[in-house]
């Protein structure tokens, strides 16, 4: 078990075999240092020795509890890298558990040149800028393929609904295609769930009304106040894009558009305090999530920042975290809402404390890392090639809209991926891992986990410590996100 300590000074241990955190005392650690949790038989003489150095009652209690805990420890022999992915298991798995969303890359063109864009020169293995649009023939094929897969998959998962997302480049540069797709879907298949990720610059009133009519869920990239946003998000000619976006957002909010949220990207120069203030404004849509500039194999974006820049940024994050924790301590009463810090810290909190699979062997074909099985999303590029998601490089296609999903290829990718995950069986934060294909892919295949995951245990434990520090102040913040919460808390004051 891995030890960690919270801001309040409490000690815990992460038990990866079970997938839970346990509170830890000096006595608990002393016993754990002497025994193997899989077989916690402690020699009487060692127990007596420990009782001399530690509180006797506590030693007895901890030993009893550890023996109790052992009853739920899973057998260790399951921890092996899968050598083969049975071909016959892939299609049923995809039809049962995957196909959650079709994403159409309607254009590779963009009217922005965001400095951290994954298609910029900072990213060695991505495709670079392009003017290519998807045509309706490809889009229609993709829609029909997805509809047919869901039809075929109904017998495996009758509760699945159709979700389609429009992505780019800037998808509104090919707005006619989006309209054509939606008209086609509604005339042939009925209503689907629609979403779009946009830079917001082309989101005028006319488009807004059409999107509202079709109940689009919209994500707009917005990095904060003007200075913050324009530092990275610029038009092709270098002008800042902030004013244009805010003008469009004002129109959208005025027309009563509710399902519109912002996504924010941070880099080492981001002024978190200013961004926090910005998202407290009434003329700014709610924030969906805040993430760092994408780090992946071949990324050189961060090379431009000095160590001091990076440390200063970490200091800003820590200061924001302290403010967030103070706000929680005061029961949020005397403080204004702070949607940005909620997005920044709450997401990690939930991911760390409610994410891990506990006491259940994963049913996934992907037992290690946090990766999905390719096919969870159906990402279709402008030419009709299908990829595992919008974030993975194009050299891992899993089919195309003409021939359908290539289940054999999905199996090959999984097998190849896991052959590079040598570190996973001995990793002590397996169940907390959020790494996926995206973190390991290069133009030559996958990188080894021995290279990518060198600091995974320490960085994960740091995140865990931060999450538990918040949960210690108000555990309801976590508990309320569990759908069982209301039932469990019934009749409690």
């Amino acid at each position: 078990m891995l030890e960690f300590e919270t801001a309040q000074g409490n000690k815990y241990a992460w038990c990866d075999d079970v997938g839970l955190i346990i509170p830890e005392s000096l006595e608990m650690r002393a016993i754990l240092n002497q025994i193997n949790l899989q077989d916690p038989v402690l020699d009487e003489s060692i127990l007596k020795t420990l009782m001399k150095s530690y509180n006797e009652d506590e030693i007895k209690y901890c030993y009893k509890w550890i023996k109790k805990w052992r009853k739920i420890m899973p057998k260790q022999n399951a921890l092996k890298i899968p050598q083969e992915i049975p071909a016959e298991s892939i299609k049923p798995f995809v039809l049962r558990h995957c196909l959650r969303q079709l994403i159409l890359d309607v254009t590779e063109d963009c009217n922005f040149r965001c400095k951290y864009c994954t298609f910029s020169e900072y990213y060695e293995f991505t495709r670079g800028y392009s003017k290519r649009h998807m045509n309706f023939e490809v889009a229609k094929k993709a829609i029909d393929l997805y509809a047919n897969l869901l039809k075929e998959g109904r017998r495996f998962n009758p509760w699945r609904e159709h979700y389609i997302g429009f992505f780019g480049g800037e998808p509104l540069l090919n707005f006619d295609l989006i309209k054509e797709c939606v008209n086609y879907i509604e005339s042939r298949y009925g209503k689907w769930h629609y979403s779009m990720t946009t830079n917001g610059s082309l989101l005028d009133e006319e488009k807004g009304e059409w999107l509202l009519d079709h109940k689009f869920s919209i994500l707009v990239s917005l990095d904060g106040p003007e200075e913050e946003h324009n530092r990275n998000r610029v038009f092709c000619d270098g002008r800042g894009t902030f004013n244009q976006i805010m003008k469009n957002l004002a129109t959208m909010l005025e027309m009563g558009y509710k399902d519109i949220r912002a996504i924010t990207v941070l880099d080492p120069k981001s002024d978190i305090s200013e961004i926090e203030k910005f998202f407290q404004r009434n003329d700014v849509p709610p924030i969906s999530r805040a993430t760092n500039v994408t780090k992946m194999e071949g990324c050189k974006y961060y090379d431009q920042f000095s160590k001091e820049d990076q440390q200063f940024f970490l200091h800003r994050v820590e200061t924001a975290r302290t403010r967030y924790m103070d706000r929680i301590s005061n029961n949020l009463k005397n403080n204004k809402k702070n949607p940005f810090s909620d997005a920044l810290f709450y997401r990690i909190l939930i991911s760390m404390l409610l994410g891990p699979i506990t006491l259940q062997s994963s049913k996934s074909l992907a037992p290690f890392t946090g990766t999905c099985v390719p096919g969870l999303k159906i990402f279709v590029d402008v030419e009709g090639n299908i990829h595992a998601c919008e974030r993975i490089l194009t050299n891992f296609p899993i089919g195309n809209v003409y021939d359908g999903l290539n289940y054999h290829r999905i199996g090959e990718i999984l097998k190849d991926y896991f052959h590079h995950m040598e570190r996973c069986p001995s990793c002590r934060v397996r169940k907390l891992c959020n790494k996926c294909f995206h973190d390991f892919c290069t133009d030559q295949g996958f990188s080894s986990s021995n290279n990518v995951c060198q600091e995974i245990e320490s960085s994960t434990l740091k995140s865990l410590s931060e999450a538990v520090s918040i949960a210690e102040i108000d555990s309801k913040l976590v508990d309320r996100a569990d759908i069982k919460y209301e039932s469990l808390m019934k009749w409690r004051v």
Binding site: T6, Q8, G9, N10, V18, L20, I21, I22, P23, S25, Y61, K64, W65, K68, W69, K71, I72, P92, R96, H97, L99, R100, R154, R155, F156, N157, P158, W159, R160, E161, Y163, I350, S351, L353, L354, G355, P356, I357, T358, L359, Q360, V468, A471, E472, S475, V478, A481, D482, I483, K484, S487, L488, K490, W491, R492, V493
Partner: protein
């Protein structure tokens, strides 16, 4: 100092009292009102008196511990709460009953045909006063494949008398074999023979319905023992691994209070059972039953709730209007009398029987505990 229950111990409050459920040891600790107040307080991270004898006892029982500062206790669970919230998750189907015929030459007094109220009738064979067109062998094979595709974990093949057309029954069993982790088949004791036992050996577990246990029981079979007042309601039987007691209720006004279904004996702090019951009905949850004519119902004994007919449409269509899901999610929290009870997640419940006894699908007759005053009324 602070005191908190361990990760494996759930504190559940009722309207009056409460209980601690140790999900590793499977123990239940019922608390009085004073203890309830104390646990409610320390579980909300309020400070405690380190000399409190009740807390010292809780620690001695290995249910919780003292801490010098307030701490976060992550409760034990199965699976990932975050995953449960995701969209497009497939249904989790634990039990699929298929009644492959509705014929029998016997006239058992406890048969469903006679409208008898029984506690485990679902596990036995029943003939029903229904005249729908029986499904063909091909229909059953299609339905079995559909159950397999829904990842059904237990297939229970029932009738009617499965031995009347044994070749057809074996055809269905052979087709099902290997598609499900477990297969069960129900028989009347008079129908089962060595040949039949040999035919199904290693493929399915027999559930043998009987009024009298023979001296030699087969370890590989499950016995469904019909019990009524005349042969004594031996409550300890329910604890035997391969004996299920099927209590028959002839006179609902005179139900013995010490019957396991009425008393503490029906409670269990089994981890899977307890955690499942927070969101699902302990029995209806994850269950579907297909009648001999293709009618889909929530359980074999709830005949009047037709979800659709899988002879005419595919099995998945039954799931799509979420009517079945309402039965799955009919937790005891939603049953009036149980909703204020601290044992609501540890309790077994047969909705079919309760409905037969009370006339309401939300009724409750089989319980001696009054959660409003916190007493077992024995």
């Amino acid at each position: 100092m602070y005191f908190r229950l361990n990760p494996e111990c759930y504190f559940i409050k009722g309207e009056c009292r409460s209980a601690i459920f140790d999900l590793i040891e499977g123990e239940i600790y019922a608390l009085n009102e004073q203890e309830t107040g104390l646990v409610s307080s320390f579980e909300a991270n309020n400070p405690v008196d380190v000399d409190n004898e009740f807390l010292i006892e809780l620690k001695r029982l290995c249910l919780g511990n003292f801490y010098s500062r307030s701490v976060y206790i992550q409760k034990i669970r199965i699976g990932s709460p975050r995953s449960e919230n995701q969209i497009n998750i497939p249904p989790s189907l634990a039990r699929g009953f298929i009644e492959i015929n509705n014929s029998c030459h016997r006239d058992c007094w406890f048969c469903g045909f006679n409208g008898i109220k029984r506690s485990s009738g679902c596990m036995g064979c029943n003939k029903w006063n229904e005249d729908g067109q029986p499904l063909s062998l091909d229909d059953w094979k299609r339905i079995i494949e559909e159950l397999r595709d829904l990842d059904c974990r237990n297939l229970i093949i029932t009738g009617g008398d499965l031995t009347l057309d044994w070749d057809r029954t074996m055809d269905i069993l052979d087709f099902s074999y290997g598609l499900f982790p477990k297969i069960f088949m129900s028989f009347h004791q008079e129908s089962i023979s060595r040949e039949i036992e040999r035919d199904i050996a290693n493929k399915a577990t027999a559930i043998i319905q009987t009024e009298k246990l023979s001296d030699t029981l087969s370890d590989g079979s499950i016995y469904l023992l019909i019990a009524n007042g005349s042969n004594g309601w031996k409550p300890n039987w329910i604890r035997k691994d391969n004996i299920i007691v099927d209590y028959i209720f002839k006179d609902q006004n005179h139900i013995p209070k010490d019957l396991p279904l009425m008393s503490k004996a029906k409670l269990s702090a089994n981890m899977h059972f307890f955690l499942n019951n927070i969101r699902h009905h302990p029995c209806l949850g994850h269950t579907i039953s297909i009648c001999s004519d293709g009618k889909a119902i929530p359980c074999p004994m709830m005949r009047k709730y037709a979800l659709g007919n899988v002879g005419k449409s595919p099995l998945y269509s039954i799931f799509q209007d979420f009517y079945l899901d309402k039965f799955w999610k009919l937790t005891l929290d939603k049953i009036d009398r149980c909703s204020s009870c601290e044992f609501r997640f540890a309790c077994s419940d047969c909705r079919a029987l309760e409905e037969a006894l009370t006339g309401s699908h939300l009724g409750k007759r089989l319980c001696c505990y009054d959660p409003k005053i916190g007493e077992w009324q024995l």
